[in-house]
Amino acid sequence: MTLEILYFAWLRERIGLPRETVTTQATTVHDLIVELRARDERYALAFFDLSAIRVALDQELADFDADLANVREVAFFPPMTGG
């Protein structure tokens, strides 16, 4: 499966890129994070504390155990601070 992964705010800064295309066998967000953490130090650091991270699947907020089937766009970001 090929996913478009987006990073925002300090996640974007730590990983060093705003988006990337990833080919993966992960079936849940959690699996995907485990894969990304294993890549290198930047990812391991960025995804160190999951309580500081939110995820959206195809632009809808989701949980870490959400299924990736049919998903095209995954976004990781810190808790939002709008308004």
């Binding site: 925002f8 809808e60 601070t81 709008g82 308004g83």
Partner: protein, 147 residues
Amino acid sequence: MEIRVQEAPFDFGAECARFAQGREGIGAVVTFCGIVRNDGGQMQAMEIEHYPGMTERALRQIAEDASRRWALADLLILHRYGRMRPGEKIMMVATASTHRADAFAAADFLMDYLKSRAPFWKKEISADSAAWVAAKDADEAALERWG
């Protein structure tokens, strides 16, 4: 219902005037405007990042939720992204209703949800540092008011 996400500054007074214009049927308009604070003079600028596509979608969901909960004649959400200086307007909401209680509650609700459920992230830039604004527990707790 109108939702705008833009980098350009907006004219709060002109938006208020336009929103309240020609409303013979309704009795109450509430507006809220968020302004960049200087926090004691330390801050030089605020930078707001957002998630194009999801932002509009999230704002629309929040607006539709408010419209279901209260009897609103109209509502406006306008939110900027990019770099702003202290004193600049960041965003505004406006609600129009027959009764003031609905207009107040809906505006208050919109602000609570915009704070924690719309994909914006603020960075404060001072002379010698830049820091992402941390989400406040109080902002997350505020959502519980709405059941």
